[in-house]
């Protein structure tokens, strides 16, 4: 498709501004003004509408395709939450209004949303307190690690490293490192769990924290999780919970009860807010009681008269990590979703997510090698290692799925599984969708034996065929000129 810039025609306009209704004042001195106007496209409103409508159709999305992208929890996003977010009382609220009239009386509705959401997330996860400020999951991780650092500093300690399993999300070590910690990586044992010997060896009084996902990125619930947590606490380290996989355990177990001290959630995963093509997300952080004083400011509080206010007087706080109160629009959608599902709905979401993933695993395990061969939680990791013997990679299988209208699973993650394909079907997909997807994967496994070339050529029916990624990186073309 042509770029919008290539559709530009000098003099064409797409929008009319109001006429100037004030007397014209002298302009700014020349030295403050730009010499060259930004070369924005000159197009009509219909040009813009058609361009972006047609661009949108070049995407797979949850609303149009099955999207079993492992670790991303691409569940259905209820439509009414979009409508709630667009209510003018929410969308038009300036974030500085609480500064105008003592204690946020101009923003009581939004403050109540934040307060209630923090309470609900605390109960769901078993944590003492939450902040909604972090703007995405990785941002929540960074916030969490900053809280850990503040806690140790307050105890007069400067601990040096954070322990992370080799199966972790890449953001875990990256977050630990940019907050100033060394990263100690623990291998996975032959059963697919954290290697306990290596863990015990690495753990000492220099350990600031242990960052884990539970269930882990292989889709397993580690039965030794309590022992891992207790060992960390014995040396004064804190337990960090990466909430990417919370969708597996709602109402079944809570990170706070296990002993996790800090936790981030991805509202765009478990709580069904749209992923938006890569964001905005939201990554609220929950803490145990001993870390609550360090949470970012401001804190939303409820006064004795039932009104809500912002508290900035927290001298132990790590400070501002977001300009205001988080991605409010995203938080609001998650709040609406939690209210709608309620206690039973949340539990059923996890039960059915786990049911669907195990169903996929059971039907596919004779065609692809299940990683570590166990029953899974909300996602299953399969390996295309046996297909590789025919020269077929997980990438080839993914491209074949695309031609058949399915978004591929997450591939090549976790890094420790050869030719990994991580399937997360979620609870909102019907059995017939799962069956069609499974059939297609079986077909690909059979093709790998009979006609591997068919997989190498895929996709054939997309707007583009396989793209040259090496060329993209070697000769960067990052803007139109």
């Amino acid at each position: 498709m042509q770029l919008i810039f290539e559709k530009s025609r000098p003099g064409r306009k797409g929008f009319a501004l109001p006429e100037i209704d004030v007397p014209i004042a002298p302009g700014l001195a020349e030295k403050y003004c730009r010499k060259q106007a930004a070369a924005l496209p000159e197009v009509s409103e219909l040009d813009v509408v058609r361009h972006f409508s047609n661009l949108s159709r070049l995407n797979f999305s949850v609303d149009t395709n099955f999207y079993p992208l492992g670790s991303c929890t691409m569940k259905y996003n209820p439509k009414f939450t979009e409508k709630a977010c667009a209510l003018e009382g929410f969308s038009d609220l300036h974030p500085l209004l609480p500064q105008l009239l003592g204690g946020g009386m101009l923003a009581q509705g939004s403050l109540e949303v934040l307060y209630n959401t923090e309470r609900l997330l605390s109960e769901i996860t078993g944590m003492y307190a939450f902040t909604t400020q972090p703007l995405a999951g990785a941002h929540g991780e960074l916030t969490g690690v900053m809280l850990i650092a503040a806690y140790h500093k307050n105890n007069g300690e400067r601990r040096k490293h954070i322990i992370i399993p080799d199966s972790s999300h890449g953001t875990n070590p990256a977050s630990a490192a940019i907050a100033g910690y060394n990263v100690v990586v623990i291998p996975t044992d032959k059963d697919g769990f954290l290697d306990m010997n290596a863990y015990k060896k690495a753990l000492n009084r220099e350990t600031a924290a242990v960052m884990l996902t539970c269930p882990d990125t292989l889709g397993f619930f580690n039965p030794k999780i309590k022992e891992i947590s207790d060992l960390a606490h014995e040396v004064g380290a804190l337990m960090y919970y990466d909430g990417a996989n919370l969708n597996a355990i709602l109402g079944k177990c809570r990170p706070g009860d296990i002993g996790f001290d800090v936790i981030h959630l991805n509202l765009h995963k478990t709580f069904a807010t749209p992923h938006g093509g890569g964001g905005p997300g939201a990554g609220p952080v929950g803490v145990c009681e001993k870390l609550a004083d360090f949470l970012p400011i401001s804190r939303v509080i409820r006064r004795s008269d039932g009104t809500f206010a912002l508290d900035y007087h927290k001298h132990k706080s790590i400070g501002y990590i977001a300009p205001f109160y988080g991605n409010f629009g995203v938080i609001l959608k998650a709040y609406a979703y939690i209210l709608c599902l309620g206690r039973s709905g949340l539990i059923e979401a996890s039960e059915n997510a786990v049911l669907s993933a195990n169903y996929c695993l059971s039907r596919l395990k004779d065609y692809y090698v299940p990683a570590y061969g166990k029953r899974c939680m909300h996602e299953c990791v399969l390996s295309a290692a046996s297909q590789l013997e025919q020269g077929v990679h997980a990438l080839d299988i993914s491209k074949y799925l695309i031609d058949k209208g399915f978004h591929p699973p997450t591939i090549y993650f976790p890094l420790i599984v050869k030719e990994a394909m991580m399937i997360e079907p979620t609870e909102t997909e019907s059995k017939e969708t799962l069956d069609a997807f499974i059939e297609c994967l079986i077909e690909a496994a059979l093709l790998a034996k009979s006609n591997p070339e068919a997989l190498h050529l895929a996709p054939l029916y997309m707007p583009v065929k396989r793209l040259d990624e090496t060329k993209a990186a070697r000769e960067p073309n990052l803007r139109w000129q």
Binding site: I4, K13, L17, L28, A29, C33, R34, Q36, A38, A39, S53, L58, N59, F60, V62, D63, T64, M74, K83, A84, A86, E88, G89, S91, D92, L93, H94, L97, L101, Q108, I124, G170, A174, A176, A177, P223, G251, C253, A272, H275, G279, G281, A282, Y320, A322, F324, N327, R343, G345, L346, A349, L355, Y359, R363, M377, K399, K465, K471, A472, L478
Partner: protein
């Protein structure tokens, strides 16, 4: 209400395939001791009931005030086409375009967005966006530390206090030294900046227009900074770039900013849009996603995520940043918004903002006891000195229907009588005059 399609029969069939009796069997490896101590969440409600609850809450917010509050976040008009197009579920229910062949719409949109950001800032390379203006500034500062191998950063006090506070929070465990230089006559104080500028300096950070609304030309600062082997970073307000000298024209190395004003609702602080653009030579230290053009097997143009060797999913603890997402949907809104306005419309928008603000300055200056600060030129926001505490004045004007500005005493000691007033294209002559009249009345009482 839940959104689960499985019927009881289907669940039984699935359980049978798995080879277990019940769903509980799928959770039985979670030890009894680890089961929830409580799960006290209210039972679910219908969509209608939840919407009613939210409508009631939304009415508890004061969004009917005539808005003169800015402070880096502005009440601009959003054309209906922005909502209609960004509201297409093919955009908002997709995820990061990891699989390019089925994500060409998103990838092309990001490439176009990057082009718009480069055009606005006058710089060479933009990424696919960051969380907000504050985190973008933090990422820019960290880029400068990596590129220069130095650890001292000079920050002009005209940079938003919110962003400065964020910078300090993020770097509190790193040994980075920040030096704040004062604002002189409304603008960045050259003398103080140059006094601190040395061979240990990684970067100088400035903002245009600054928090008090003053416009500046940082060309001289950029030149001096470069002589020292440091980088010049500017946080900018994108709507002002319709008119103001671009960071690129000033010789700035890294431009960042808050993109909220480009078609994104105020929404009580987010989601917003952080943008960052750099000179070409700094490209490989950029954080976050970047889309690039390439070709497919048939030599047809297509787009992919590229230069990924910088990123956390590959480099893990050695990545340039821990960011894993971007604000794609907000970036899309900014793209659609700027395309609708177009080359001349974007300039007209900036001019309209400037002219309305100039009229407001002239009008407020006539109010007895009010003094508009005129030490430096401004764009669409300016500072006024009131004869009494700005907090009190703001409170009394709320009753008249005006959110009349941001009382600077909230952020700055000794500025209790100062008010920061923003005027966008949405404010009419009549509203500005009424604001001045109400202010006059409030000051007399």
């Amino acid at each position: 209400m839940n959104y689960i399609p499985h019927t009881e029969l289907e669940k039984k069939q699935m359980l049978k395939t798995i080879g277990v009796e019940s769903v509980d069997d799928l959770f039985k490896h979670i030890p009894a001791a680890l089961r929830p101590k409580s799960f006290n969440i209210p039972e679910g409600k219908s969509e209608f009931e939840v919407m009613e609850h939210l409508k009631i809450l939304s009415r508890k917010n004061a969004t009917n005030l005539t808005d003169f509050v800015g402070g880096g976040f502005y009440d601009h008009y959003i054309p209906a086409a922005v909502d209609a197009l960004a509201g297409r579920a093919e955009f908002y229910t997709a995820y990061t375009p990891y699989q390019p062949e089925c994500s060409q719409g998103w990838l092309q949109a990001i490439y176009e967005y990057q082009t718009v950001i480069c055009e606005l800032t006058g710089l060479d390379v933009s990424n696919a966006s960051l969380y907000d203006g504050g985190t973008a500034l933090y990422e820019a500062a960290m880029m400068a530390v990596r590129l220069s191998g130095r650890k001292k950063i000079i920050v002009d006090s005209g940079v938003s206090l919110i962003y400065r506070t964020m910078l300090y929070a993020y770097t509190s465990n790193l040994s980075i030294e920040f030096v704040e230089t004062p604002v002189a006559h409304g603008q960045a104080c050259r003398e103080d900046i140059y006094k601190h500028l040395d061979e240990k300096t990684a970067a100088v950070i400035v903002q245009n227009p600054n928090f008090f609304g003053a416009v500046d030309d940082f060309s001289d600062i950029a030149e001096r900074v470069h002589k020292c082997g440091a980088l010049a970073i500017a946080s900018v307000y994108p709507v002002s770039l319709g008119m103001l000298k671009s960071p690129g024209e000033m010789g700035i190395d890294i431009a960042t900013g808050e993109g909220q004003s480009l078609g994104i609702p105020l929404s009580f602080g987010g989601p917003y849009l952080g943008f960052i653009a750099v000179k070409k030579e700094h490209m490989r230290q950029l954080p976050g996603r970047i889309a690039g053009a390439t070709a497919d097997k048939d030599n047809k143009r297509g787009f992919v995520l590229t230069l990924q060797a910088r990123e956390q999913h590959i480099r893990r603890e050695r990545a340039t940043s821990n960011i894993c997402s971007n604000e794609a949907l907000c970036a899309l809104r900014a793209l659609i918004y700027t395309c609708l306005l177009g080359k001349s419309g974007f300039y007209e928008l900036a001019r309209l903002n400037y002219q309305k603000a100039e009229f407001a300055k002239a009008t407020l200056d006539k109010v007895t006891g009010v003094k508009v600060k005129r030490s430096a030129p401004t764009f669409n926001e300016f500072t006024v000195c009131l004869p009494k505490n700005a907090d009190e004045v703001v409170c009394s004007l709320i009753d008249k229907g005006f959110a009349c500005g941001f009382p600077l005493g909230r952020f700055y000691k000794g500025l209790d009588n100062y008010l920061l007033v923003a005027v966008t294209e949405k404010r009419t002559k009549e509203e500005i005059v009424q604001f001045a009249n109400s202010l006059e009345a409030a000051l007399c009482s």
